[in-house]
Assembly symmetry: C2
Homo-oligomer: 152 residues x 2
DNA sequence: CTGTCTGCAAAACGTTTGCATGGCG
DNA sequence: CGCCATGCAAACGTTTTGCAGACAG
């Protein structure tokens, strides 16, 4: 868990299980708790299968269908980002106030960023494209300090 | 086809089939030509199945396996971006010098952008995260002028 | 107690693969 | 002509679905 206080660039902000469940508007069950908790703690985007196995190996019995169904609810509530990562479909919690990440292409660790470079160009973009801009997504890729060392 | 000359923000740059084939380092066939040409002309990210049907309906006989195999080659050569778009896996040509797009969430039309807002913050990012930044991806979402009107 | 959620098994779907044939260079 | 690419069909992995029983509120 990385926390840089007074740093405007890097940020780690963990929502609570309760908050997320509330936003999902559904009942609290042990499966959902395990899935949400895992996504909160995960530093890398996870596939449905990975989520399933992680939880199973932690001793909580769970079914793959339940994982898919829970992810579906979270996604439709705008809480989860479904993306292609490492050539697989993976899911990552959308942290409030932090839509952007810097991700390691080697270990897939993902650190949320608090900056948003789009703010500077958004108005200009609207003027040129006449789009009604609803949102955006920024992903930065590279090697984290640890993996950098491994590659000498 | 949108072209704004002398505009630093929006850009449309079409590579040729020959250039792409050369970068792929493989034989020229009618299937590959059809796939690459379609991706060059497409204004929206396409799924494998869509590519397959578009080409078939244009009168060129083609097989789904061939589509997948060609997309695989293009992707591994860094010519194609495989992403989740409209909740499906879709492919989009990576235009040289233009890695970013503004995409309509309604009709999925995608316009390449020539600006790169990351340049301004990249150095700062390196200092803070100590990542060896290899690349990045920016996607802007919204409603294009046409779809804006449809929604009154 | 009621409606929602889960587990299970089967189905549906998307993607990959092996092999024989076809076609580019 | 030799090798690479294609078509086909089957295999494979992922995701979805229907249903009966379990459980939260």
């Amino acid at each position: 868990m990385i926390i840089y206080l007074k740093d405007e660039l890097i940020m780690e902000k963990s929502p609570s299980y309760e908050t997320i469940l509330l936003q999902m508007g559904c009942k609290s069950t042990k499966s959902r708790k395990a899935i949400i908790q895992l996504l909160i703690n995960a530093e890398i985007p996870l596939s449905a299968k990975e989520i399933f196995y992680f939880i199973k190996e932690s001793g909580v019995s769970i079914n793959l269908s339940t994982v898919y169904r829970t992810l579906e609810i979270m996604e439709s509530n705008g809480l989860l980002d479904k993306c292609m990562s490492d050539d697989r479909v993976r899911y990552q919690l959308i942290l409030e106030g932090s839509k952007h990440h810097i991700t390691c292409t080697s270990c897939h660790k993902s650190i949320p960023l608090s900056i948003c470079p789009l703010k500077t160009i958004e108005k200009d973009l609207v003027n040129k494209t006449h789009f009604d801009i609803k949102g955006h997504k920024l992903e930065v890729y590279g090697l984290c300090p640890k993996c950098r060392k491994k590659e000498y």
